[in-house]
């Protein structure tokens, strides 16, 4: 696979195919961050588009020596989400799951339908519980437990010390576990 800095360089030189590759590589990840944060499919779709517009416009600001492209793109997305959150003044997103998207099943084609249904149900319940967690704890849990970021990467994305990152993840997890328990769900 082409290294990120090289891919970005090609994008900056006007290589449309390089940009297309980058978009297709990161769309799902950025969409998932937006969806898990907002809890709304359509909002997440619009925000993902807006995030890529920002990324496209700010590619020249990406500095490989300061971190991976994924971290920088996540940082841009996170700033957008904060702006969106402030704009909408929504501390608690609705727990309506009418437009919950399907959990992706392609990565595990051997799974039984029952397991897929359980995963989908768990995904919905996690989303409902996340909606009740404060935004700053929510984003920490999303980045760590759903996106699999390292603490150092989260530190760069959030712009806070590592101790604060761990503290937010800690509190976010405890809060989320409590919310799930209130909903009658205890992860096995």
């Amino acid at each position: 696979m082409e290294p990120d800095p090289q891919l970005v360089q090609h994008c900056l030189q006007g290589d449309g195919l390089a940009w297309e590759k980058l978009v297709r590589l990161h769309t799902r990840r950025i969409y998932n961050i937006c969806y898990r944060f907002t809890g709304h499919r359509h909002e997440a779709e619009d925000l993902t588009q807006e995030a890529f517009l920002r990324i496209y416009g700010g590619l020249s600001k990406f500095q490989p020596e300061q971190g991976a492209l994924t971290t920088w793109m996540t940082s841009v997305t996170r700033n957008l989400l904060i702006d969106h959150h402030r704009r909408t003044k929504r501390d608690r997103i609705t727990d309506s799951m009418e437009d919950a998207p399907q959990v992706e099943t392609k990565r595990a084609p051997g799974r039984l339908p029952d397991q897929i249904a359980l995963d989908s149900e768990l995904s919905d319940q996690v989303q409902r519980a996340l909606a009740k967690v404060s935004p700053e704890l929510r984003e920490a849990v999303i980045l760590r437990d759903l996106q699999g970021f390292e603490y150092s990467e989260i530190q760069k994305v959030l712009g806070v010390p590592e101790g604060t990152v761990k503290s937010r993840i800690n509190r976010g997890r405890i809060e989320l576990a409590k919310r799930l328990e209130e909903m009658g769900l205890r992860p096995a």
Binding site: G16, L17, W19, E20, V23, R24, T27, R28, R29, Y31, N32, Y35, R41, E45, T48, Q49, F52, L53, Y56, A100, P101, Q102, V103, E104, T105, R107, A108, D119, L122, S123, V126, V141, D145, L146, G148, K166, S167, I169, N170, R171, R173, I174, L176, A177, L180, E181, R186, P187, A188
Partner: protein, 227 residues
């Protein structure tokens, strides 16, 4: 429940939770956490719940993005697609045709066309423009239709003839069987020439005039003669 040992509070335990679950705590701190958990049901439950939650979240599959999202982003950033992928847009409508149901449909249409063209007398090996002339097509179709009708009529009349023969031969056969006495041995009951092909030949010979009349009834053809 309040902590009872090592002056280690629930808050302190909570603060160490992430590193405890990551397994990155120093041995002494870990021992203190475990000592507290052993005596605090609330913290024990919390660690179990959060541990299970972290494992569940790690296994959760990402949600699927809307199918056209990447294309919409590319269009918003690069404008309408051009260049290498242009031909994909032009032939994009052909993509659904690669599905099996369309292949089955295509085969079905080909077979139908083949049957119809054969019925219309179109020679694919040596195609001629004249074959497609409406008058020729109508003529061939008319001829084929008549032939099919004639074959059908002949088949029906043949079947009726066979039925007629069977019904005429049946009573004679049954009569013969009923007149035979039960006391006769099987060997005596089936005398030579009374069963099998020879018996049928004898019956047909015997009933030939009647069968001939029946045949004429179903096939009232003109008598062939050399005259």
């Amino acid at each position: 429940m309040e902590p009872t040992r090592h002056n280690w509070s629930c808050e302190e335990t909570e603060a160490q939770l992430t590193e405890y679950l990551d397994g990155t705590l120093a041995a002494s701190t870990r021992a203190q956490v475990e000592a507290h958990v052993a005596s605090c049901a609330r913290c024990a439950s919390m660690i179990a719940n959060v541990g299970a939650l972290v494992r569940s979240l790690a296994q959760l599959e990402p949600v699927a993005e809307p199918p056209n999202l990447a294309s919409a982003i590319l269009e918003a950033t690069l404008g309408p697609r051009r260049g290498k992928s242009d031909w994909r847009a032009w032939f994009g409508w052909l993509r659904p045709l690669s599905q099996p149901r369309f292949a089955y449909g295509a085969v079905s249409v080909m077979v139908t066309v083949s049957v119809i063209s054969q019925a219309l007398g179109i020679q694919w090996r040596a195609p001629a423009v004249a074959d497609l002339h409406p008058a020729n097509v109508a003529h061939v179709a008319n001829r084929e239709a008549h032939q099919v009708y004639a074959r059908g009529v002949k088949l029906v009349s043949d079947l009726r003839l066979v039925y007629e023969i069977q019904t005429r031969l049946q009573p004679a056969s049954e009569t013969r069987q009923t007149t035979e006495t039960p006391a006769e041995t099987p060997a005596e009951a089936i005398p030579s020439g009374h069963t099998g092909p020879q018996h049928l030949i004898n019956l047909i010979d015997h009933n030939f005039p009647a069968l001939h009349q029946a045949s004429l009834k179903f096939h009232p053809r003109q008598r062939r003669s050399f005259e």
